[in-house]
């Protein structure tokens, strides 16, 4: 360790110590002040997070017998009758909603669609954004900032707005993409009439929207790798591939994992894109889990069943993230 590095470590240590002491030392002139400052969060949390999370779970054990009259559902959270609160129009059905999930062809279809879109989209996106980040991180790179800005541009696009662009670009008969494919002598693609290609069109749109975002995160990770590790590898005679294999990849692993888990969670919650680009079609071939939940809750008013779908999704997301963490973190 050089003298300069030692000094840097020393200065970081001092900073950490003063910060930690600082927190311990500062006392308000009135002891209730910090509680007052954090109170809004907990009030809002109780009302708009804790309650809904619990109530969705609760609803998933009921069947709703009321109607939706147009827009407003005829349901009260609680009805007080003779001083006793009871739920309106709700019949307790135990685990029936969850049992129904496994025999519901449309639900299973929506799960399959969601997973297929994810498998089509994520590997390509992670690979390309890693490649781009590596290129931007090359020693000789001179215009890294400009390239990063240009490539990250799609992150500004509103989900529905960019979906609308792809809706138009993927139009089968006069769409821009099919025209370009034809002009290049390639066969045109049935984006809207074929189940697989409908899912592929969602994957293309998602890759476009999120590639730059993941590139930024991976680039930040690459910048954080200690240059000395590469120098040491060079001294040991490592070639380009070996440096990538034995230095970059292991160092980048936590960030790769972060990107993959976030993309997984995002894919499983897909809603705006299938709604706008494919409208779930053809024949429900691209309907996603969240879309199905939305339809059950707000078109068919099966609130209990929709709640069960929601919880199935949450459990699914949690398990998948956990598995990825286990595999990736060893």
């Amino acid at each position: 360790m050089s003298l300069r590095d030692k000094r840097r470590v020393q200065s970081v240590k001092t900073r950490l110590r003063t910060t930690r002491n600082g927190v311990r030392d500062s006392l308000p002139s009135f002891p209730g002040v910090p509680y007052l400052y954090i109170l809004p969060f907990y009030v809002l949390f109780a009302l708009f997070m804790a309650f809904p999370v619990a109530y969705t779970f609760y609803l998933s054990f009921f069947r709703y017998h009321g109607r939706g009259s147009g827009y407003i559902l005829e349901i009260d959270l609680f009805v007080v009758e003779a001083g006793v609160p009871r739920l309106s129009n709700l019949e307790f059905v135990g685990l029936a909603n969850y049992q129904r999930l496994f025999g519901d062809a449309l639900f299973l279809q929506s799960v399959e669609n969601t997973i297929v879109v994810m498998l089509l989209q994520m590997p390509l996106m992670v690979l390309v954004s890693l490649l781009v980040a590596l290129m931007l991180n090359a020693k000789f790179m001179q215009y890294s900032g400009y390239f990063r800005t240009a490539i990250a541009l799609p992150v500004t696009a509103n989900y529905v707005a960019y979906s609308a662009i792809f809706l138009v670009m993927f139009a089968e008969n006069f769409g821009f993409i099919n025209y370009m494919l034809g002009a290049a002598g390639l066969p045109t693609v049935p984006w809207r009439s074929d189940g697989f290609w409908a899912k592929a069109s969602l994957a293309v749109a998602l890759d476009w929207r999120w590639m730059g975002y993941n590139m930024l995160i991976l680039f930040a990770g690459l910048q954080g790798i200690d240059r000395r590790l590469y120098e040491a590898a060079e001294i040991d005679g490592a070639n380009r591939w070996e440096k990538f294999r034995y230095v970059t990849l292991p160092q980048l692993r936590p960030i790769m994992l972060f990107v993959i888990i976030l993309s997984t969670i995002g894919s499983l919650q897909l809603f705006a894109e299938p709604m706008v680009i494919t409208d779930g079609g053809p024949a429900n071939q691209s309907i996603t889990v969240v879309m199905y939940m939305y339809q059950e809750a707000f078109s068919r008013f099966n609130l209990g069943y929709a709640s069960a779908i929601t919880y199935a999704l949450v459990v699914f997301v949690t398990i998948l993230a956990y598995v990825q963490l286990k595999i990736g973190g060893e």
Binding site: R24, S26, L44, L47, L153
Partner: protein, 276 residues
Amino acid sequence: MSTTQSKDPLPVRFAVYIGLLVIVAITFVPLYWMIVAASLPQEEFFTLPPRLLPGTHFVENVQALEARFPYLRSVWNSVFVATVYTIISLFLCALAGFAFAKYEFAYREPLFYFILATLVLPVQIMVIPMYLLMAQLGLLDTHLALILPFLANPVGIFLMRQSMLSIPDSWLDAARIDGASEFQIFYRIALPAMKPMLAALAVILFISQWNMFLYPLVILESEELFTIPLAIERLTGHHRIYFDQIMAAATIAIIPMIVLFLWLQDHFVRGFTNSM
């Protein structure tokens, strides 16, 4: 820098720059196509080969769109809701972040980790009861219902706390000796010192509200209250789809964000990478 730096051969450098230019081109094509399509008259839209240069009909397309749907009203609604939300939420996040960073109090750690734990909850889980709750509160079909539930943002509190740790206690103590109240210390000393972080967080909060779709779709009914995502979704959902008008709408929705992005680039990049 080490002296043993190995030079990459020229073909490698060349290939890297070409590769990046290809990616940039792919990034730009949909945006360029959007602008072309938004500025063509309806009859030229369907010609083959498609036009590759922008036309001059953008204003006409916006007027035609406006005649069918109050779209500019939606743009205003989005700007209004996102701005109000950002300002209030920024204040609440900074307030809580300041308390967690600078005050010693009982149960501080568990209370803070609890906030972090709430990060994992997805919005879908809240949509149905939130609809029912808003109905009970008489807030269905109001902008307030879009703002209220998301004001306390766990990410925001976390980021504000992290950056407020760097405020020296001596500043706070000096202010107390000068007779400042606790709130004055927060408002006059902590907030101004946090400007870069506040800007980055403002970007995160604004974008999160700007992008919101599923929840407003459930809450809002009146077209004149629609935000941009709902308006565009409604435009694409008709039997007869007016592609040129949809592209004009998408252009209006995206261009301001791109300008903002280029202007506030550093904050944006910080904001995006922080928001996870």
